[in-house]
Symmetry: C2
Subunit: 347 residues, 2 copies
């Protein structure tokens, strides 16, 4: 774990995560290093596959830095993907242009037994090189966020085999809860090792992406979402008590947000469909909220952006707040909209 | 409006809608007349297109009755589709097997001006014939539910052109709110006329399906969902004060459920992702809740069904409750699962 320099500690982002109400909220965007940027599309061409881009430190560092250079966001997030974990465990993972990720789905415990948590850290060495490189090249005042997918979300892909199959893990959970629990456990264990190592390499905060939280019926929320997150957060807090953790339960269900907020996390990221006023009722007074502007606003642009920013800030008055979107920025977003967003926040 | 016979009034379904806590909850399933039934698939072959099935009273009556004959559900719902309203307005609507509905999307006010609310009732005459036929052929104790799509959901299809395009109406609402408002108004006006006429023909309750509620960001909920529903409910309450109305805001957002429950509706139908305990906090003491078993349980079967039924009934103890799924039953559901569900409820 690298020493924490004063410039970083006084950054808007880390102050918000420490529970401080800043006069201007820090801003960063999920997927800020992405296809809406022409410089990203240029760099993307240098890697054969999307996973190659994630695993080539020079390129991953470059795309991480691009939105920082262009927009001066208040936080950077290492360029990677949540599916490097199943890939590192030994599952076949590939990306089809325009269709998203594909995995050879785990059908049973025999398939699961072929994976090994012991190969994860060696396989992910390029990610750790990326983190080290970023710590050298990021502006001294720009915090670096490490991340991984939350276990239910990662297991959704491991069992379902791709996007659009979020219900498969639920179906299997009704039919074969033992198998599903083992897959979630495997993802959890791999994530703990992966995140501890990200902390060793110097990330300044960790975000846990539970992107498919909304697919989990209430009766399974504790087993699929909360218990695995608790295991991760507890392990990280024991390992690095000061490390801020952001959890992103992507769901409109207030009670899932509330249950997540009962874990010792510094911030909860809120999806677009849940209002910030409702979200605020679910979290502690010192727990920052992050979110939740509609990513569509980055496509449509105009003064709707200013209105959304003003409304969010008015709602979050007096509460630690990080301005972000409710989900990743989309490839059809415009640079002018991002610029307008930043101008609207920073004046 | 037909006279209300005592057998109907003492049905579990209408008693629950009147705010009574029944010792056994009434049960019906959204899409209970559907592809999971072999007799439905047989009848389906007799109609060239899906809309033909909706518009041929003899066939629509037959498929409505099939699940009542087989399972003795506590309520029937007229077989139709929410997209008969845009079809009746004059928009081109068709169904592609395995892909769902398609519409020639409204691009602007010129497209909208080609539609006319004055042709709606004549066009939908076959639906009214279906209702009359059902009132003759349903068991005297089985209430008939009429329905339509809520305006935002119908407008989602009118502007987006099909499934998988729920964000188009939101995007247009940021860019051209006036146009979107007019489309929603058109759907609202057509729905009011359509539902009044359903009441004239003898339906015993009305359900409003806001199937795409979850796609509406908080800032647009009042304009897209609540205000149009208020207009419909107010018009129907003035027209037929005793007519029970069920609203189905398909969303996990507690505050959307709460806002819907503030309208004078008799019941709120709850989707699978929102827990009944959380839902119960959002509604009035006399307002029935309906839902919200996971439709996947009708595919996976087994004793998970009994556990889900027991949990739902335990949570709903002391509150008027209608047992249903959180969304429509799917084509891959098994008849044995539906039988088990009914046995689990009725003993």
């Amino acid at each position: 774990m690298t020493g924490r320099n004063p410039e970083l500690q006084s950054s808007l982002f880390l102050r918000s995560l420490a529970g401080e109400v800043t006069s201007i909220p820090p801003v960063w965007l999920m997927r800020q290093a992405g296809r809406y940027l022409p410089e990203y599309r240029e760099t993307r061409k240098k890697a054969k596959t999307f996973l190659d881009l994630c695993y080539t430190p020079e390129l991953a560092i470059e795309v991480t830095l691009q939105p920082i250079r262009r927009f001066g966001f208040d936080a950077s997030i290492m360029f990677s993907d949540i599916l490097v974990v199943p890939d590192a465990l030994g599952q076949k993972v590939w990306f089809v242009e325009g269709e998203g990720p594909k995995l050879e789905p785990l059908k049973d415990e025999t398939d699961l037994a072929k994976l090994s948590v012991d190969r994860v850290l060696a396989h992910l060495d390029p990610v750790f090189q990326t983190i080290r490189g970023l710590k050298q090249s990021l502006p001294a005042s720009t915090p670096l966020i490490g991340f991984c997918g939350a276990p239910h979300t990662v297991a959704t892909y491991m069992i379902g085999g791709g996007s659009g199959t979020q219900s498969e893990i639920i179906r299997r959970s009704y039919e074969a809860p033992g198998f599903v629990r083992k897959v979630i456990d495997q993802a959890t264990e791999a994530s703990i090792r992966y995140l501890k190592r990200q902390i060793d390499e110097g990330v300044d905060a960790i975000q846990l992406f539970e992107s498919w939280a909304s697919a989990v019926p209430p009766a399974l929320v504790e087993d699929h979402i909360i218990a695995p997150l608790r295991r991760i957060v507890t392990a990280l807090k024991a390992y690095a008590p000061q490390m801020p953790i952001l959890a992103f339960p992507r769901t409109m269900a207030s009670e899932v947000v509330r249950a997540t907020a009962q874990l010792p996390v510094s911030a909860i990221s809120i999806e677009t469909g849940l209002s910030l006023s409702e979200a605020r009722k679910q979290v502690g007074q010192k727990q920052a909220l992050q979110g939740n502007l509609d990513p569509l606003l980055m496509v449509t642009g105009g003064d709707a952006i200013d209105r959304a920013v003003d409304a969010a800030r008015a709602t979050m008055q007096g509460h630690p707040y990080i301005l972000n979107l409710g989900h990743g920025i989309t490839p059809d977003a415009s640079i002018a909209s991002v610029e307008r967003l930043l101008k609207s926040v920073r004046g």
